[in-house]
Amino acid sequence: MLENIFKRYKEILFFGFSLVLISLGLGIWRTINEATLQGTVVEIVLRRFLEIIPLLGLGFLKLGIGFAIVIIVKSIKSTGENATGSFKKAGLKLEDYKAPFFAKSFPIMLIAGILSELVAAVIMIFWIIAGVNGNEFANHIYEIITVPIEGLGVALLIGGIAFGLTTIVLNLGIQVNELPKRLKALVKGEKDLEVLQPRSLIPRWTKIVTITGMIVTASALIPVAIIRAVNYAVNYSPTYETPVGLNALLWDTWIFLGIAILLFAISYWLLRIIKWLRRQRTQLGKTVEEIAEMKVPTIENPLKITTAVHSFATAGLMWMFIFFFVIAIYQAFQETLLGVVPLKMLIKPGRAISLALLFIGIGLALLTIVVNLNLTAFMLPSSFSNIVNAIKNDDTRVELPQASDKPLKLSPMKLFIGILIGAVIVLIGTLPLAILRISYQFQGLTQSQLTVEHLIGPIVSTGVGLIFLMIGLFFSTIVGFVKARKAIISEGVESCVYYSIEKK
């Protein structure tokens, strides 16, 4: 049953995005009718609904991305299994690799993540009822409980995506290193091969960063809940401020720091995938040169945009770190001169800039991956044709494709533009409003007079939702290439094995 659900990743993506769009529509409607809605049941319901539903929509979008990664992992794994099965038929002594814990558990993490978000949505219903009935105690308790559950869901979903990418790195790494070695052994008639240590294929630091990001994201909102619960119990007041002067906004930014760490880790997993895909082509080229005794064109230089991925990822994370510490200092010296700076208003735009940088980096990495997969799809069939002909003692050689002079032509630029538009929407949702809020403060007006205030959440969610949708569609394109790669490698290896057995 799960298999069928994984395959429906596109429907899940569009369902998530539709929830985000519904929230945007309701947010606009609420803003337009603010005066008439004030104090009504509709306003109570909408306020709570719009806190949870956009997040649930984003949760489904992350789930869709995660499930597309599950399909990619399954396809890469079965490519390896098919090839291993064929090589074993030829008498090669091969050991099966055991899947590490993260490879087995990442789909469970994704499911647990969306379940957490759904639990938060169910609590929202009770929260709405409590709000409508005017039950103050229940109202605040539900609000307090929802926050950490949401945080846990976000950590599990983005962490699941990151560990899914780790699994791709592992499986792809094994194949990139093993396939040429096994093909050469097949041709030379060797049976015993040096065993590869899969652990060496996983960059330790990226794994540590991923785990750190998950812990930070999952734990960040728990202090917020405790602070609010304690404060509520002591003062019978649901405000953010605590008796000891700690501010929940600081912890609220902490969750974004966790998300930024996870996105940074994701960028580096994608960079490792790019590295393996390039190596796959160079290694395969060398194998063709050796087995088929022919000249193989060298592959193109690494794309310049790959370097930009490092820059965007580092700048995005650094920005979030600096921003977090500035807020911490601001909290500590609120009463002094520093407190004059209206920093609170800049919290949302600050986070948005960091996330936009990180997402642009991820978009560029995905562009490069699709370009590399395209070039691999060009190269694989002719490589196998030449190896098969060499095994058959047939002198016919098929020319391998020349290095592409404009490889970016092979990239789905529309999807990347979608990510850029999403990033701009996120910034539009925060920056102009922040400027308005600051000008209001200087004019001595209260924030509640700013009617568009309610639109920040839905606009930012729409921007992030669009980014997630485009990332999901990028992965959908990758699914196509990975399945094509599976067909070509499985058939190619099978042909090599068939003719090598026949030759004997």
């Binding site: 395209n374 799809a377 060009f378 694989l380 069939p381 002719s382 196998f384 044709s385 098969v388 002909n389 058959k392 016919t396 098929v398 494709p401 092979l410 394109t477 699914v479 196509g480 290439f481 399945k483 094509a484 067909a487 070509i488 058939e491 190619g492 099978e494 042909s495 068939y498 003719y499 026949e502």
Partner: protein
């Protein structure tokens, strides 16, 4: 295979031509049993395309086929005729009908050449001659 064909159907003509050439050359070099399976998979995937995309795809396939060596052409055609046993009647007929339509659009001379080659290969390998009526 479905995903690969869908991807190729959406790709620009030049890229589709290049990739299909590599793919057909690879399939032509496969052992017979595997080649039949590969061609059956290819036909099934093509039949799942919408007509708007299926015709340009089959046209590219035809152009690629014409550019293959005589040995490769023979291997592909034998595989195609034998793949009929692995396919449902409906799928095989859709492919056959669209292939002939596309061949006709390419000109009478090309149509005769393809149908003549099919007939010749079928007779050489003792296979039933495909129907050319559209």
């Amino acid at each position: 295979m479905d995903e690969m064909i869908k991807m190729l159907a959406d790709a620009p003509e030049e890229q589709r031509h290049q990739m299909l050439t590599q793919r057909l050359k690879m399939v032509a070099g496969q052992p017979e049993e595997q080649r039949i399976k590969s061609i059956a998979g290819l036909i099934t995937a093509v039949s799942s395309l919408k007509e708007k995309k299926m015709k340009p795809f089959i046209a590219t396939r035809m152009k690629v086929f014409m550019g293959l060596t005589p040995e490769e052409k023979e291997a592909i055609l034998v595989g195609r005729m034998k793949a009929g046993n692995l396919l449902s009647d409906k799928i095989y007929k859709i492919d056959q009908k669209t292939t002939l339509e596309v061949a006709k659009q390419m000109g009478e001379e090309k149509f005769k050449m393809i149908t003549g080659l099919m007939k010749q290969i079928a007779e050489k390998h003792g296979l039933p001659v495909p129907e050319f009526a559209m």
